[in-house]
C-alpha cells in the first residue's frame, strides 16, 4: 500500500476530486493548510498597513492506495492540477505497512 499526499492549489480541489472520482477513487481526506515552497509569497499594503502574504493557502489531500492504482491516481492529480506555474504544489508517496478498518478489523488492502 502507498500513501499519497498532495499539496495543491485550493482552486484545483474540485477538478482533482472529479478526476479521482472518474478513476474510481471516491474516498480521500482533505485538509486546509498554509505553506510555501519556492512560491515565497509577498507583502501587500492595505490602508497604510502591511500584510505579509508569506504563507499561502493550500489544500492537502491524503489517500492510501493499493500499489497498482498509484500511477493512475498520480496521473489524474497531475492532469487536473498542473498549470505549469510556480505554486502548483507537490505530490509525496510513501510506503504504508498496515491498514485496519476499525468497524470490523479488516486488515491490509481490504481495509482501504
Amino acid at each position: 500500500m502507498t500513501k499519497l499526499e498532495a499539496v495543491i492549489q485550493p482552486s484545483k480541489l474540485d477538478a482533482v476530486k472529479e478526476a479521482l472520482l472518474a478513476i474510481g477513487i471516491d474516498g480521500l481526506t482533505v485538509l486546509e493548510v498554509r505553506g510555501h515552497g519556492r512560491q515565497k509569497g509577498h507583502t501587500e499594503f492595505y490602508r497604510g498597513r502591511e500584510y505579509s502574504v508569506d504563507l499561502l493557502p493550500k489544500i492537502k489531500l491524503e489517500i492510501v492506495l493499493r500499489d497498482e492504482t498509484v500511477d493512475d491516481v498520480v496521473k489524474a492529480i497531475l492532469g487536473a492540477s498542473q498549470t505549469g506555474k510556480i505554486g502548483d504544489g507537490k505530490i509525496f508517496l510513501s510506503r504504508i505497512d498496515e491498514a485496519i478498518r476499525i468497524r470490523n478489523e479488516e486488515r491490509g488492502s481490504d481495509a482501504l
Binding site: Q9, S11, R34, F45, Y46, R47, G48, L56
Partner: protein, 860 residues
C-alpha cells in the same frame, strides 16, 4: 435461574415487546408504549425478585428494590436504560444479598435489557454526590418495586426531603450547570436540521429538567413533595404536556426504526415520520411541514425550560447578582428590568405600534429576555397592533431601529416566536423553521439568518476573534441597516424548493424594498448584496493570487463601499452555516480576497474609463429616466472613470449632467446637501492648476473636516469633485442663510476675488486639539498598477486642513491630479492620488522630491 424460568421470562418479554410495537404501529401513541413497557419490566423484576431475593414481594428484610430515573417515572421508551437502585438498610443486608443481587442483574442483562443497577445503603442517599449529581436527581423519580416498604418510606419521606432541603442551592446549581452546558454544546438553539430529540434544546431532557426544577421548587416552598408540574407557568402547562407527548411518540418511532436507543432525528427519519404521521398529521407526508410542527413543540419545551431555570435557579454569585442589579438601572418610563427580564411599566400602552416595537428595540439594545408576563401582554396586544395596518415606511422604520442594535438577532428570535416579526416582514414567514437538506448547514433557514446577523454585530475591531481586518470594516460601513436587511432576506428564496434561491430571494427583496419605499440607491444596495451573496465565496474557490480572479470580482462589485458590505455579508453568511464553517484558513482567505480586490479597485480607476461605445447598465437606466439628456449625457461621461458611475446613483449623475450644462453661464457649479448628519458638496468646473488643493483649502477655511472625497475628470476637461465633510463649528447647521455664502466662496476663491490663505490659516490655528491616537505617516508610490499615472498613497494623522496641505504640495511639485480618492478611518487619513507631470508618469527623482516635500510639510 432455572432454564424453565429463563425461557418463560424471555418469552414474556419478547411477546410483550412485540405486542407494544404492534400497538404503536396501530395507535402511534408513544405514551401507551412507555406505560406498557414499564409494566412489562415491572413484571419481570417482580418475578426475578421472588426467584433470587425473597418469595415475599414485600418482605421487611432491610432490602428494597427501587426504580429510579425514567423507569422510576414510569416512562420506559422501547430501548431506553432501566435504572435500578438496590436500597439497603446499612451494610449488612447488602453483604448478605450480594450474590442474589448479582444473579438477578445477570438475568436481566441476559434478557437484553440495558440495565444500570446500583446498590447503596440508605445513608448514602442522604448526601450530595458532587461528582455524580445525576444520582441525587434520579432519586426524585424513585418508585418502590419490591422489598422493604418501610425502608423505601424512610428514603422517600425523610431522607430525600432532608437531603434536598439541606443541599437545595448546590443541587439546583449543579443541575443548572450540567444543562446549560448541554444547551451550549448544541449551540443554544432548537433549530438543528437533524436534532437529537432527547438531549438537544427543546428535547425531552428539557421537559424532565423542568419537572425536577418544579419538584425542587416545591420542596423549597412546602418542605415536601409536590407534583412534578406544580410550578409550571399556567400558560405553558397544557402546551408542554402536548409537546412532551409528541416527542415521546417520535422517540418510540425512532427506537423501533433503529432497533436501539437512537434519538437522532435525521433526514431519513424525518421523511419516514412525516409519512407515518407520527404525532402530527396536518401536513400530509411533507417532511418540511412535519418538522415545522416539531420545532413548534420543541420551542414550547425550550421556553418551559428557560422559564423554570429563570424562576427556580438562584443567582450563582454575588458578582452575577451585581450584574443583574446593574442591569436594573436600564429601566425607563416604559420598561423595568428585573433580574435580566423586561417588565412593562404601562402594559395598556402596548397596543400602540410604537410602544409595541419599542419593547423589542429595548431587548435588541440591551440583550435582555422578556418576562413571562410581558410575553403574555405582547401576545394579547398583537391582534390590535396587526389591525393598525402599518404602512411600508412605518414598518421599515420599526425594523430598522431593531436591526441596528447590537442584540438585534435576540430581538428578532423573540419577535418571530411571538408572531411580531410577521407584522413587519411577512415575507420571512416562508422560511420559519424551514429545513433545507444540506450536508454543511446545521440550522434551519431562519436560525441561520439570525446567526448571520449576530455574526456582523459581534464582529468588532476590539474583539480579538482572529478575524483581522474584517472587524475594522464594520466600523467603516455607513449602512449597517441595509446590510442587516440584506442578511434577513438573503435566503428567503429557499422556501418553495427553488432551484436558484438567489434569484428567488432577489425577487422577494425587490418587493420588500418597494413596500418599504426605500430610496433607489438603498434598494440597489440591498438587491446587489443579495444577488452577489455567493460571489466572494466563489472567488475564494479560485486562485485568489491570479490577477484575473480579482479583476473579474472587482468588475462585478464596482465600488469599495459595495465590496466592504459584500465582504461582511459573506463573512456573516459563512459563519452562520455551522460553528466551525469559518475556519481561520477561510477567514484569512476572505480577508485576502477583500483587500486584494479593494486595492485593485483603488489602483485601477485611471485605466477603467467610460467610453460611449461600451454598453453600461447604469447609463441605460439614466437614459430611461431622463431621455431628454440625449447627447449631453454621453459628452459628460466620455472619459470619466467607471468608478464614477459605480459610486453615484442615477439621479445624482443626471444632476451632474445638468450642472455641467450650465458651465457656460457660471464656470463653477456647486451643489450642497445634508447627508446623514454630515454634508456633501459637489463642485463641477473646468480643470485648472491646483484646483483640488484650492477646493480643499476653501473647505478648511470654513472649518470643515473632510471625511471622504473623490475627484474625477472627463475627456473634455470637466472636473467632478465631491466632498463629504463634518461641520465642526455648526456654521451650516445653525445658519441656513450661510449655505449660499458658503457655495459662492468657491467661485470667489477660484476666480481670485478672495484670497484663500488668510481664511485657511485662521481656521487651522483655531482647532489645535491633540490627537487621541498617533498615526505614522506612510507614503507609498505605485508605478505598476496604472498604465497612465503614478499612484501615490498617503496615510497620515488626520488634522484640519490636511487635504489642502497635501494637495498644495502636489501642485507645487507640478503634479496634475488625475483622480483623487480620499477616505478617513478614525484619526487616520487614507488618500490615493493618480498623478501625472506633463502628461506622463512621475520619474523616480520626481517621486523622491515629492516625498521629501510632503514629509517636510506634514512634519511642520
Amino acid at each position: 435461574m432455572t432454564s424453565g424460568l429463563a425461557q418463560s421470562l424471555k418469552a414474556e418479554y419478547l411477546a410483550g415487546s412485540e405486542r407494544l410495537r404492534l400497538e404503536f404501529e396501530q395507535t402511534r401513541s408513544g405514551r401507551s408504549v412507555l406505560q406498557g413497557r414499564t409494566a412489562l419490566v415491572d413484571s419481570l423484576t417482580h418475578q426475578l425478585w421472588r426467584h433470587h431475593i425473597d418469595p415475599d414481594l414485600s418482605a421487611a428484610n432491610g432490602l428494597a428494590l427501587v426504580a429510579i430515573g425514567g423507569y422510576g417515572r414510569g416512562v420506559l421508551a422501547p430501548y431506553s436504560d432501566v435504572d435500578l437502585l438496590f436500597l439497603t438498610d446499612g451494610p449488612a443486608p447488602a453483604a448478605a444479598a450480594k450474590d442474589a443481587i448479582r444473579a438477578m442483574c445477570q438475568d436481566l442483562w441476559d434478557l437484553r435489557l440495558k440495565l444500570s443497577p446500583t446498590t447503596r445503603p440508605l445513608e448514602d442517599c442522604d448526601r450530595l454526590h458532587r461528582d455524580n449529581p445525576e444520582f441525587n436527581i434520579s432519586l426524585l423519580d424513585c418508585r418502590i418495586l419490591a422489598g422493604d416498604f418501610g425502608l423505601f418510606r424512610r428514603l422517600h419521606d425523610q431522607v430525600i426531603p432532608r437531603s434536598v432541603l439541606r443541599d437545595w442551592q448546590e443541587l439546583v446549581l449543579l443541575l443548572a450547570e450540567v444543562n446549560e452546558a448541554r444547551h451550549h454544546q448544541a449551540g443554544d438553539t432548537i433549530f438543528h436540521l437533524e436534532p437529537n430529540i432527547k438531549d438537544a434544546p427543546g428535547g425531552l431532557r428539557d421537559y424532565n429538567v423542568s419537572c425536577w426544577l418544579s419538584i425542587l421548587n416545591g420542596f423549597s416552598r412546602t418542605q415536601n413533595w409536590t407534583e412534578a408540574f406544580d410550578s409550571f407557568p399556567a400558560s405553558l402547562r397544557d402546551r408542554a404536556q402536548e409537546a412532551k407527548d409528541f416527542l415521546v411518540s417520535v422517540r418510540c418511532f425512532l427506537h423501533y426504526r433503529a432497533g436501539r436507543d437512537d434519538n437522532q432525528l435525521n433526514w431519513e427519519a424525518q421523511q419516514a415520520a412525516a409519512e407515518a404521521h407520527i404525532g402530527y398529521d396536518g401536513g400530509g407526508a411533507d417532511a418540511a411541514e412535519w418538522m415545522r410542527y416539531y420545532y413548534r413543540q420543541a420551542r414550547v419545551l425550550n421556553r418551559l425550560f428557560a422559564t423554570m431555570m429563570d424562576e427556580v435557579v438562584p443567582a450563582r454569585s454575588s458578582l452575577f447578582q451585581q450584574f443583574q442589579n446593574w442591569r436594573a438601572r436600564l429601566s425607563t418610563d416604559e420598561f423595568s428590568c428585573v433580574n435580566g427580564r423586561v417588565f412593562l411599566q404601562q402594559p395598556s400602552a402596548l397596543v400602540l405600534p410604537e410602544n409595541f416595537f419599542n419593547c423589542f428595540e429595548f431587548v435588541a439594545q440591551h440583550g435582555l429576555k422578556l418576562a413571562a408576563s410581558t410575553d403574555l401582554r405582547i401576545e394579547q396586544a398583537l391582534p390590535t397592533v396587526a389591525a393598525k395596518n402599518l404602512s411600508g415606511p412605518e414598518r421599515w422604520a420599526a425594523l430598522r431601529r431593531i436591526l441596528l442594535r447590537p442584540h438585534a438577532a435576540r430581538a428578532l428570535r423573540i419577535m418571530q416566536e411571538l408572531g411580531a416579526l410577521g407584522l413587519l416582514l411577512p415575507e420571512f414567514r416562508a422560511v420559519e423553521s424551514l429545513v433545507i437538506r444540506d450536508y454543511y448547514h446545521r440550522y434551519t433557514v431562519d436560525e441561520h439568518t439570525f446567526r448571520a446577523i449576530d455574526a456582523v454585530h459581534n464582529l468588532h475591531p476590539e474583539k480579538k476573534n482572529g478575524n483581522r481586518g474584517l472587524g475594522n470594516l464594520v466600523e467603516e460601513i455607513e449602512r449597517l441597516d441595509l446590510l442587516a436587511l440584506a442578511l434577513l432576506l438573503h435566503d428567503v428564496g429557499k422556501a418553495g424548493n427553488n432551484e436558484d434561491h438567489v434569484s428567488a430571494s432577489l425577487e422577494v427583496a425587490m418587493k420588500v424594498c418597494h413596500t418599504f419605499e426605500l430610496p433607489p440607491e438603498d434598494e440597489e444596495m440591498v438587491c446587489f448584496l443579495i444577488a452577489y451573496h455567493l460571489d466572494l465565496s466563489a472567488a475564494m474557490r479560485r486562485d485568489i493570487f491570479d490577477p484575473e480572479t480579482i479583476q473579474s470580482l472587482a468588475r462585478r462589485v464596482g465600488s469599495p463601499d459595495r465590496l466592504k458590505m459584500l465582504a461582511l455579508l459573506t463573512y456573516a453568511d459563512i459563519s452562520a452555516v455551522n460553528p466551525t464553517s469559518l475556519s481561520p484558513w477561510k477567514a484569512e482567505n476572505l480577508w485576502r480576497v477583500y483587500f486584494l480586490t479593494a486595492n485593485y479597485l483603488n489602483r485601477s480607476v485611471d485605466d477603467d474609463r467610460f467610453h460611449s461605445a461600451a454598453e453600461d447598465e447604469q447609463v441605460a437606466r439614466i437614459r430611461l429616466l431622463k431621455p431628454q439628456l440625449g447627447r449631453r449625457l454621453r459628452d459628460f461621461l466620455e472619459g470619466l472613470p467607471q468608478r464614477y458611475l459605480r459610486i453615484h446613483a442615477a439621479d445624482e449623475i443626471i444632476q451632474h449632467v445638468e450642472m455641467a450644462s450650465q458651465l457656460h453661464s457660471n464656470t463653477v457649479q456647486t451643489h450642497l446637501k445634508r447627508l446623514r448628519g454630515d454634508f456633501s458638496l459637489t463642485v463641477i468646473t473646468h480643470d485648472r492648476p491646483a484646483l483640488f488643493a484650492t477646493l480643499a483649502g476653501v473647505l478648511a477655511g470654513w472649518g470643515m473636516n473632510i471625511l471622504k472625497a473623490d475627484a474625477f475628470s472627463n475627456d473634455s476637461g470637466v472636473v467632478v469633485d465631491s466632498f463629504i465633510f463634518t461641520d465642526h463649528f455648526h456654521t451650516l447647521e445653525m445658519n441656513v442663510q450661510e449655505w449660499a455664502r458658503f457655495q459662492t466662496s468657491f467661485t470667489d476663491v477660484l476666480s481670485g476675488a478672495v484670497p484663500l490663505e488668510k481664511l485657511a490659516r485662521k481656521r487651522v490655528s483655531a482647532n489645535g486639539k491633540s490627537p487621541k491616537v498617533k498615526v505614522e505617516t506612510v507614503l507609498n508610490f505605485d508605478q505598476n498598477s496604472s498604465s497612465h499615472s503614478t499612484i501615490f498613497e498617503v496615510v497620515a494623522q488626520d488634522r484640519p486642513g490636511l487635504l489642502h496641505r497635501i494637495a498644495a504640495v502636489l501642485s507645487e511639485c507640478g503634479c496634475n491630479i488625475e483622480v483623487a480618492l480620499i477616505d478617513t478611518e478614525g484619526e487616520m487619513a487614507i488618500d490615493t492620488f493618480y498623478l501625472r507631470i506633463a502628461g506622463r508618469k512621475l520619474a523616480s527623482e520626481e517621486c523622491a522630491q515629492l516625498k521629501a516635500a510632503l514629509e517636510m510639510e506634514l512634519d511642520s
